[in-house]
Amino acid sequence: MNLRTIVWKEMRERPTAMFVSLLAVMLSVTALVAIRNVAVFSEIEVADKLDKLGANVLILPKEASLQDYYAADMQSETIPEEIVSELVFAQMTGVEAIAPKLCIPATIHDQKTTLTGILPQSEIQKMASWQGGVLFKKHEGCKAKINLANEKDDSPEALAKRRTLQNLGDKDVILGAEYAEATGLKQGDKIQILGEEFSVLTVLDATGTVDDSRVFAHLHNVQDLSKSGEVVNVIEVMGCCKDVANGLIGKLQSLLPDTKIMTIANVVKTQISVNQMMTNISYMFLTILVVIGGASMASSTFSNVIERRREIGTLMALGASPKFVTNLFLVKAVLLGLAGGIGGYVLGSVLAYFLGPYFADISVYPLPSLMLIATGTAVFVTLIASYIPARRAANLDPCICFKEV
């Protein structure tokens, strides 16, 4: 037998005595974990979206309605391709790269797909050099990490990550991972598209986006094949985020009055504000945990000490040091904190798993790191709350044990 067994046996004898404070701690941990869990996955989702996108400004046809930012190019309305050169010539500070796209639905190699025309960056750069200038003015001190195709890394696979490409030949196509798997096509294969033969330059790694089921070809080829003329569906603009926030959108809008300018901020704004709200709510539950959980823990430890005065006096008579008596209550606090923290973590994770898809429209899975934070906080709160009552127990007059009942 040791201190821990004594604590354990005392708790087992009357499990209901500490039930209220355990419940208070556990429920606030539950709420804290559930909210935090959903918030973390929601934040990951936003970061993921931003990461997959690359572009943070879209130039769309005026009539376009944007349902899905990631499939912004999937629409029938178009804008003239000359906007691309207008943009290049305008030399706006903050515009770092542009990627025009044209999409047409097509059945290629017996597989329904979206044929996406892209303009390689090298041709845009050529356009800029005709102008006699550099391409876009690099904004000084721009810290934004923007996914740009660059001259040094011109492998076609870069398209998967950056959504832009340095070079793309006239007779080349690039296949999305899903499409390639469905058709069994691989690098070097010949492929017929709308009556013309192309060769597969490469197959992209899976990205988890709509790109996986697409076929990419040079913009001008797609325009010719679809007989749509010199148009595009969308121009993705990679802008320095500081400029995007500080009026770049307005400048673009006045330069291109017949288009619709959208920023990623418009799209993820609601989700970001929901995340902010969830963060605030989790602080609220943290406060509740500290105040309610702590107060009920402190009061139940106080009454536990009062109830057990004779026992404490007896233990001291038997040679228990004040430290032993203090620890008797602190160990109990730690056990309750652990139970409340782990119980709350389990409940909260289950809650988040079911509520995540409801509230935030995302799938949520348990986060082991939250268990550490949850139990750590719960133990901290119960320990702090029990400290004064535990010290008081150690300072009791041991002579209580001589009192007749």
């Binding site: 004898e13 008579a317 040679g319 228990a320 002579c399």
Partner: protein, 229 residues
């Protein structure tokens, strides 16, 4: 054990209660002292001071050449654990622990190994005739059995001094005799016993009797080493 001009005054707001007048007293090793006196005469107060549980207002108490209230509080706990065994009128068994676990407490406090705790506690419960009640909780035992568990627990740290506060106060005559014969046995083992009682028949088992009344020690005919200042 030696008391040097010890007195105890309880202060409560304005009023003061003199629980024990200045007393000088010597209790040699192996003695068996019964302290008798009416209720409120300061018997328990004296016993708690002897047991390193409450400091006297004035004076010093020496045990084996050490002034016990000059020791820091942790060492006083250590001293109780090593040298002193208490027997209470109300037994004070820990209600949520079984008989054997109660006896293990002093051993656990002394950080004895679990095997030694078990073995020692079994032997002691056997000694007080309770080997068939080891795993019973106090409320499943009769009062006499409870006091015997308490005696076994008191013996667990092999104390040189036994302090008993009305050990027979809550017992019926039969179990009273039993407890008294155990105490006599412990005294014969060489332990010093100081027992508070207001039961004269119990006091007769002692080697000498100390009478307290209104906080003062009165000399008894059988006393020779006792002085009251």
């Amino acid at each position: 054990m030696h008391l040097e001009s010890v007195s105890k005054i309880y202060k409560k707001k304005e009023s003061e209660v003199i629980a024990l007048h200045t007393t000088t007293l010597d209790i040699p090793r192996g003695d068996f002292v019964a302290i008798i006196g009416p209720s409120g005469s300061g018997k328990t107060t004296l016993l708690s001071m002897l047991g390193a549980m409450s400091a006297p207002s004035k004076g010093k108490i020496w045990l084996d050449g050490e002034s016990i209230y000059d020791l820091p509080i942790e060492q006083r706990a250590q001293l109780r654990q090593e040298k002193i065994g208490f027997v209470f009128q109300t037994f004070n068994l820990i209600p949520y622990l079984t008989a054997i676990e109660n006896v293990q407490i002093p051993l656990a406090l002394a950080k004895a190994s679990v095997e030694r705790q078990k073995q020692c506690a079994e032997e002691l419960l056997d000694k007080v005739g309770l080997s068939d009640r080891m795993n019973h909780k106090p409320d499943e035992l009769s009062v006499g059995q409870q006091q015997r568990v308490a005696l076994a627990r008191m013996l667990a740290n092999d104390p040189a001094i036994i302090l008993a506060d009305e050990p027979t106060g809550n017992l019926d005559p039969d179990t009273k005799d039993q407890v008294m014969s155990y105490l006599e046995e412990f005294n014969q083992e060489g332990r010093t016993i100081i027992m508070v009682t207001h039961d004269l028949s119990a006091a007769k088992c002692a080697k000498r009797i100390l009478k307290l009344s209104e906080g003062g020690v009165c000399p008894d005919e059988s006393n020779h080493i006792l002085k009251t200042a």
